[in-house]
Symmetry: C2
Subunit: 223 residues, 2 copies
């Protein structure tokens, strides 16, 4: 229950993010890639977190979070996403700029600060990238109706509700093409040969590569 270091929090967050969905365990190398560090550093830290009962770890078998560890990770994620909302909504940052700054702010230790910030932002449910913000108890909304744009059929109508990649260059690409959260679109064509997709948004039409389309998260609308 004692405070965790910035580093420990970053590891927990990375483990959380890579063990979402069906994947129940993350390998040492995969984590090393995600965190831009070396496998040996991962082993060291995972051992430490395992001693603290925040991570389940079997040598050579990868790791996952314990319920305790998940709680800690979600606290950090809550702060990260709240700060992102603050930076975009209150300070006027672009959604492509806030992640790196929130990486620092997420480590500020003050429960009262987090709760006051939440209130100041009027209890936002989603961050600027469409990711749900855990409540103070660590409950996270499941986005059951969310699908990737490339999974739609021709003539489907949908609204953008998230992005699967926070990379600034991808977000700037979306900005340039005037795609943002809330943008409504219709699938005009699906091209088999490269799995690209043509969408219409109001008057505009646009081709998206499979790569791009797979990173845009949408919810189907009644057509």
């Amino acid at each position: 229950m004692e405070d965790l270091s910035h580093s420990e929090e970053n590891y927990l967050k990375a483990i959380y993010n890579t063990t979402q969905g069906e994947i129940e365990t993350v390998s040492t190398n995969e984590l090393a890639d995600k965190m831009n560090t070396k496998a040996s550093s991962i082993t060291d830290m995972v051992k430490k977190l395992s001693d603290k009962k925040l991570v389940k770890y079997k040598k050579y078998k990868g790791c996952s979070l314990t319920p305790e560890g998940e709680k800690s990770a979600l606290k950090v994620i809550r702060k990260h996403r709240l700060w992102e909302v603050f930076l975009v909504d209150k300070l006027g940052f672009g959604w492509d700029e806030v992640h790196v700054i929130a990486e620092q702010l997420e480590h500020i230790r003050s429960v009262k600060l987090t709760e006051k910030l939440d209130e100041f932002l009027e209890f936002p449910k989603y961050d600027p990238h469409g990711d749900p913000i855990p409540d103070r108890d660590g409950n996270l909304e499941l986005r059951t109706k969310m699908v990737q744009l490339n999974e739609l059929e021709v003539a489907d109508v949908a609204v953008v509700i998230g992005v699967a990649d926070g990379n600034p260059s991808f977000l700037q690409y979306l900005d340039q093409n005037k795609i943002q959260l809330g943008t409504e679109l219709k699938v005009l064509d699906l091209f088999d040969f490269d799995e690209s997709v043509r969408i219409g948004m109001g008057e505009r039409e646009l081709n998206l590569s499979k790569t791009a389309a797979s990173k845009i998260c949408v919810e189907r609308l009644e057509k």
Copy 2:
């Protein structure tokens, strides 16, 4: 010019704060006291900062900031005070609660964040304790007309413009006695035997110990 660690920034700030005014140099032990650390730690860090040309240091003679070091210190102080304004004005914290949180926020590295925050707060000149906020170039207003309350004469009228002590228990004492920045007061009596002072504020009258009075910073008004 590379980034400084949290620890290095804290040392620079502490050196800045203890070498204000006539005092031109701070001793190793004094700094150790202020920072709740040991003299040997001070020596180590001061050597390092001296290598980086941020601190002037002669063995056994104490240390002070170089112009470079002062610039760095003022950047941290600027962030500290801006965050304090944010916490009080926007989030509704009490002035007794914000110092510890700002101790963390002051280390967030993003020039753009600092400038956007400044703008969002509408370019405040003073923090919640009446301390002037350095501008982006590190220029700091000198509060030439500021005196301690215990230096006033009987019948002097003055307005509270700052506190010389950020200790929460002192600030809470002021809260309880409804003394805040902007409070106007008149000196009713000075008591020689213990140097305490009796002040009037509107209908209210109040005795202040010398200790308390010396920590309240005021500006004389035309009586």
